[in-house]
């Protein structure tokens, strides 16, 4: 295992951790955090895989930069929806979630 792939391996671990948290937790805020951890893992995987012995690659980095902005927007939107849901129902998790 080369040190070039260090970030890719961290990304793999974060993806697994994020998915675990996403399934285990009921609370929507925790789910959102877990989802973001999973997203960060996939970003690290994308950037880390590209620098396999060839140094930084601008193309995946630009793609990840785009992805980060989308992730920020979707997280903010999820927070707005989540708070609205809490305001309307008084619940912090979904009813069909047992």
């Amino acid at each position: 295992m080369s040190t070039d792939l260090f970030f890719a391996w961290i990304g793999v671990a974060l993806c697994g951790l994020g998915l675990f948290g996403f399934i285990v937790h009921h609370h929507l805020m925790r789910r959102l955090l877990a989802f973001n951890i999973m997203g960060s893992g996939s970003f690290l995987l994308l950037v880390g895989l590209a620098q396999d012995g060839r140094g930084p690659d601008p193309v995946p980095q630009a793609l990840v930069l785009t992805g980060i902005v989308i992730a920020v927007a979707s997280t903010a939107l999820a927070l707005v929806v989540l708070r609205r849901w809490y305001r309307v129902s008084g619940e912090s998790s979904l009813p069909e979630d047992v």
Binding site: I23, L45, P56, A62, A73, A76, R87
Partner: protein, 234 residues
């Protein structure tokens, strides 16, 4: 308990699958970094920094759709907004130290945002970083209790959220009239056009992020119908 087992199995499967994908990765047949750096010969592309070139020159449609996604998020958040005034006094922390720090930091943050926008063409920086810093200014002002109503009231600043997308599309269409591809700007104008797009994007991104922050009003934290609240199972 069974949920933990399911989660453990699922995350184990995905981790192993990703690890196999990393281990069995194919060797690339062409080098993208070299391709990108040869494409940015001075005079050919409008910008000299590879990431900015990829974002706004080679794969500009990604960036166009990205600002569109940001806009859609704001529109949905606006639709879910509660009809209640966003009182600055509810969120502002009445702290003289905070006000003093904001007064000191604000000009610096504006300067950093302008620098990041300008630096994007030659070194790390660009519209998204600058827009994030600008939005950070707005959030800081908001937390310090400054009402941003004056900023959000005028129609032309509401339209500022759309400006980035509008400028991007209106720069992209003229090349099509000349028989070129969408967003394939002429090489001699590319530098100026990219800076124009980036300036419009910075404003739109800052306003969009700030709107998303503003649309979650602080006083809505208590449920509207407390009687509906059920006891959470232990």
């Amino acid at each position: 308990m069974s949920r933990v087992i399911v989660a453990a199995i699922a995350s184990l499967i995905i981790t192993i699958a990703l690890a196999l994908a990393v281990l069995e990765r194919p060797t690339p047949t062409l080098s993208l970094p070299n391709l990108a750096s040869t494409a940015i010969t001075p005079g050919e592309a409008g910008v000299l920094h590879p990431i900015t070139a990829v974002l706004l020159e080679f794969r500009s449609i990604d960036t166009l759709l990205e600002i569109a996604v940001l806009l859609v998020a704001v529109v949905v958040a606006l639709a879910l907004r509660e009809a209640q005034p966003d009182g600055a006094d509810r969120m502002g922390l009445d702290n003289p130290l905070l006000h003093a720090v904001v007064k000191l930091l604000l000009p610096l943050m504006l300067l950093v945002a302008a620098y990041l926008l300008w630096a994007g063409s030659t070194r790390p920086g660009g519209a998204f970083q600058a827009g994030a810093v600008l939005a950070g200014c707005g959030v800081l002002l908001r937390l310090a209790g400054t009402s941003l109503h004056g900023l959000e009231r005028p129609r032309w600043l509401q339209g500022g959220r759309v400006l980035g997308l509008l400028v991007f599309v209106s720069v992209g269409i003229p090349p099509m009239l000349a028989g070129r591809a969408f967003l394939d700007y002429p090489a001699d104008l590319a530098g100026g056009l990219i800076l124009l797009i980036e300036a419009a994007l910075t404003l739109s991104i800052a306003l969009a992020l700030l709107s998303l922050f503003r649309l979650a009003p602080p006083q809505s934290d208590s449920p509207a119908f407390p009687d509906r609240r059920k006891r959470r199972r232990a």
